[in-house]
């Protein structure tokens, strides 16, 4: 309760203060700056969706600002419509073009994504310049604010409009980003493969995030047009894009307050540069901060020397440069560069990331309390296991060029079994798992779940069909907490439609999701670490969490890909215990494992692969004595018996 009061209280106070300013101050210059603050606030909240939550360097946002501005301008000047339709159109253009750009950019990560967005930006500038008949080209486009309900919008009224829109955007985005959608965006950033494998769907969420961010860019563009009432293509170029990135990164990623702080910095920058004294004071402050932060980091050994020293050097250059240079305006790009460099290297969490920790301590803001865990029987009901065939592989093949990784595999996994899949390195175990779970498309053959063919070549669709898997090389969502990792994957809880989520009317299911996820964490013994970031867990705990997350899919079939790999002995014992507990709930398990003791302890049936083919199948005891298995592992037939068993043992 105290947490909610403090957080909402801070928002209320700031917005109330901002709303009363025009009543107290009549300085038109200050009002102009505050209007810009609101517009850039909306713009940066949009940019933060892609840069912060999706974690991609998005260089197209400035294009959406420009396209939105021109759309609004053209709607007013050419179509003669009012402000509301103009703003809606600006937002729609952002949403639509953002969605369209996201489609090809969908498969791209990191540098390629940055390049695609950069090209889009350049294309949009070219188009705005060259389509002279429509945009006026380099001449620019003049427009005037149309009246709203017959009232001319005076500067204070327009300011209130912008602030009101910022407040609305703020609330909607807060609701959205705190919901399953926000978690999915972050999951996507940390591991796209696992996001698909948990049935969340990278496709939908990446397009949605990008379209949404771009839509806000378009809306901000509409307001920009009505604020300046004159548009030029040169206003929306790479230079402004860098400043926007500076705003988001300096303010703090993944934070509405961060976007707000960033917007304030952007608005104040020109004043900072034109006033020499102000500039020297601020660069001095920056230098002192870099020095303090660097010193602290070095003493506590939390940062590398470069991370501590480079910002100090950059800010030092800023201070010295400020004394030497005649006109700081001329060097504005270099100044941005130095500031941005220091923040990216030395303060990756931004001002708000740093301040949030400090304020949380100062006001003793408690963590949101955890609910009581749900009843495990409600989250993961015990199912009847009847031993009927659950998963059937029919002559499955997967070739990589000439390599026959899986070469005609037929096997049956029975409901309620723990079915071991073992084999020497390179025998095709992992490929089998990757084909079943949809990461690879089989070269030929089928997989049937309860007699129905599983979709091939789509992690997402296979996950939806009821198969969950873990990953041998951990694919956790590192920046999310343990609890959130499980919540992302939780099946059958999130039913509210997007509008309800935006309006904050999906709180009940959010509470239920927390309680359900907590029950699963209790099952694997990680309840106490529910609020720890996954990347900060011990290696063993991370392996357990992979299993809890897969269980959140409430799967018919659970595939565990080397769940004991690299674990210390006590952790192996705990892992065995966890798998037994899951088995007792009637979930069928395929276990790929190297530890023979784990396999012996858990499995009813074991299939042995070598060279992509089955060489033996049977109980663990039969397998251990099977001559071809011994040969595959040790390289020569056992001395005591003649190796006659060329045929696989009947299961």
């Amino acid at each position: 309760m105290k947490r909610i009061l403090l957080l909402r209280g801070a928002e209320l106070i700031v917005f109330a203060l901002l709303a009363t300013i025009p009543l107290l101050v009549v300085n038109p210059y200050a009002l102009g700056l505050l209007t810009l603050l609101a517009i850039y606030g909306i713009l940066l909240i949009g940019l933060d969706v892609t840069v912060g939550y999706l974690g991609q360097v998005n260089l197209a946002h400035v294009a959406f600002l420009g396209l939105g501005a021109y759309t609004a301008g053209l709607v007013v000047t050419k179509l003669g419509l009012g402000m509301a339709p103009a703003l809606l159109a600006a937002m729609a253009v952002g949403l639509l073009l953002g969605g369209l750009l996201a489609l090809p950019a969908l498969r791209l990560e990191g540098p390629q994504f940055a390049l695609a967005t950069l090209s889009f930006s350049a294309l949009s500038t070219t188009a705005l310049n060259e389509l002279e008949g429509l945009t006026g080209g380099a001449q620019g486009l003049s427009l005037s604010r149309p009246p709203v309900f017959g009232y001319a919008l005076t500067p204070p009224l327009f300011y209130w409009l912008c602030m009101a829109l910022l407040a609305v955007v703020w609330m909607l985005m807060r609701n959205l980003l705190a919901s399953q959608w926000g978690r999915a965006f972050e999951a996507l950033r940390d591991s796209p493969i696992a996001t698909d494998a948990m049935g969340v769907g990278t496709y939908r969420h990446k397009v949605a995030a990008f379209a949404l961010g771009s839509g806000l860019g378009g809306l901000a563009g509409g307001l920009y047009a009505f604020n300046f009432q004159y548009l030029q293509p040169q206003s929306f170029t790479y230079d402004l894009m860098i400043i926007l990135l500076l705003g988001v990164v300096l303010g703090g990623r993944k934070s509405l307050w961060g976007a707000f702080v960033g917007a304030s910095v952007i608005v104040l920058l020109p004043n900072l540069l034109s006033n020499r004294l102000l500039f020297q004071v601020f660069s001095g402050l920056g230098f002192a901060m870099a020095l303090a932060a660097g010193w602290r980091g070095l003493m506590k050994k939390t940062t590398r020397p470069f991370q501590a020293l480079a910002p100090v050097a950059a800010m030092g250059l800023l201070v010295v440069g400020g004394l030497l240079v005649e006109n700081t305006e001329d060097w504005r790009k270099a100044i941005f560069a130095l500031m941005l460099f220091s923040v990216v290297v030395g303060l990756p969490e931004g001002i708000m990331g740093f301040l949030a920790l400090f304020l949380a301590k100062l006001f003793r803001v408690p963590h949101a309390p955890l609910p009581e865990p749900s009843d495990l029987d409600a989250v993961l009901p015990v199912r009847a296991a009847d031993g009927s065939p659950l998963l059937v592989l029919e002559d499955l093949k997967r070739y990589f060029g000439g390599v026959k990784a899986v070469d005609g595999l037929s096997m049956t996994i029975r409901s309620g079994a723990i079915h071991g899949l073992i084999g020497p390195n390179g025998s095709g175990k992992s490929t089998v798992v990757n084909v079943i779970s949809g990461l690879y498309t089989p070269s030929s053959g089928r997989t049937l779940l309860r007699g129905v063919a599983l979709p091939s070549g789509s992690l997402f669709q296979v996950a939806q069909a009821g198969v969950a898997r873990t990953f041998q090389n951990l694919q956790l969502f590192g920046e999310l907490t343990t609890l959130e990792n499980v919540m992302v994957a939780l099946k059958g809880v999130y039913r509210s439609s997007l509008p309800l989520v935006l309006l904050g009317l999906a709180r009940t299911e959010e509470r239920r999701a927390r309680a359900d996820a907590l029950a699963l964490l209790e099952l694997i013994g990680l309840k106490a670490q529910a609020l720890t970031k996954a990347k900060d867990l011990t290696y063993g705990a991370q392996r357990f969490l992979e299993i809890a997350r897969a269980l959140a899919r409430k799967p018919d079939l659970l595939i565990l890909d080397e769940p004991a790999a690299g674990l210390a002995h006590p952790d192996v014992l705990q892992q065995i215990e966890i798998i037994k507990r899951i088995h007792q709930r009637g979930i069928t398990i395929v276990l790929i494992e190297h530890h023979m003791d784990v396999v012996s302890e858990l499995c009813d049936t074991v299939t042995v692969l070598d060279g992509g083919k089955i060489i033996a199948e049977g109980t663990p005891e039969e397998i251990k004595r099977h001559p071809r298995v011994v040969e595959a592992y040790l390289g020569h037939p056992p001395q005591t018996e003649t190796s006659g068993g060329a045929e696989p043992l009947p299961a």
Partner: protein, 292 residues
């Protein structure tokens, strides 16, 4: 339309395209060793060109100015690696994208203030007289661009194949961890690749400046097209960038002729977005198998 004019435009365009290919080759060099590219490479081209111009103005003969410019480019490449790339690589993150953009911005601002905002001519001893080849006019400057580009690419490829250091380079490109285990310092190899990449950028600047003149914004259009070439060809095919570079150069030369000069950049950008959508590893790139 007159076929000879089209041929003339295509040939001049293709020769210009070799410059894009050379800058794109610079991306490939660093991508091979570190899976990173310098988003501020255009600024390296521009600053090196300015520096070379200063060397010329100081009275250095052309054949001494060129190595001086290349050395300066290599130095800038090393600065980018140290300040923008190494930390991000150590953290296995993608921070280098933003950092190299930032460093590029700094170079841009510095060049603007040191050398001024105006475009300046770049003197060259090579004459601008055209030679007639098969009904097409090619200037000696254009020819020098082609020769320079192919020569340095050939030299670097020879270095990679024939010298021990070059083989270390190839080893780190193939498998960074395995190379480290064999006693090759991956960090030094990445430095080497950034140094080479900087030199290549400097040469591109020196070769193209007599045609485009030297100014702070001289590389902003160049670099977009170099990105396109690198992505369309694939970031691991040296042969591919030459082909794609010439193709794109010819294409944009024709586009600006038919659609108007403002649309000059458009084909490259469209090609790039298409290539990213349809074949993210590039036309000549190798497809990789996702592993988990």
């Amino acid at each position: 339309m007159n076929a000879s004019i089209i041929g003339q435009m295509a040939v001049s365009g293709a020769l210009m395209g070799l410059v894009y290919a050379l800058i794109a080759y610079g991306f490939q060099l660093t991508y091979a060793t570190s899976k990173s590219i310098n988003f501020g490479q255009g600024e390296l081209v521009m600053v090196s060109a300015f520096f070379s111009l200063t060397l010329t103005n100081l009275g250095l003969p052309y054949w001494l100015m060129v190595p001086g410019g290349l050395l300066f480019g290599a130095l800038l490449g090393l600065v980018v690696e140290r300040a923008g790339v190494r930390l991000a690589l150590e953290q296995k993150g993608e921070g280098w994208i933003l950092l190299t953009i930032i460093i590029g911005l700094f170079f841009f601002s510095a060049a603007e203030n040191i050398w001024g905002r105006d475009d300046r001519p770049f003197p060259t001893p090579i004459s601008a007289d055209p030679i007639h080849v098969l009904g097409v006019d090619i200037t000696r400057i254009e020819l020098s661009v082609a020769v320079g580009v192919l020569a340095i690419m050939g030299l670097v490829e020879l270095f990679k194949r024939r010298t021990l250091l070059g083989k270390a380079f190839e080893a780190v490109s193939a498998d960074r961890d395995a190379a480290e285990l064999m006693g090759i310092s991956a960090t030094r190899t990445v430095m080497l690749s950034y140094g080479l990449s900087g030199s290549v950028a400097a040469l591109a600047g020196i070769l193209v400046s007599p045609i485009t003149t030297v100014g702070p914004t001289m590389a902003s259009a160049l670099i977009l097209k170099a990105f396109s070439v690198a992505v369309v060809a694939g970031l691991d095919s040296g042969f591919g960038v030459v082909l794609v570079g010439m193709f794109l150069g010819a294409l944009e030369s024709l586009a600006s002729f038919y659609l108007g000069s403002g649309w000059r950049e458009a084909p490259g950008l469209v090609l790039l977005i298409l290539a990213l959508a349809l074949r993210p590893t590039g036309v000549f790139g190798k497809a990789t198998i996702r592993k988990v």
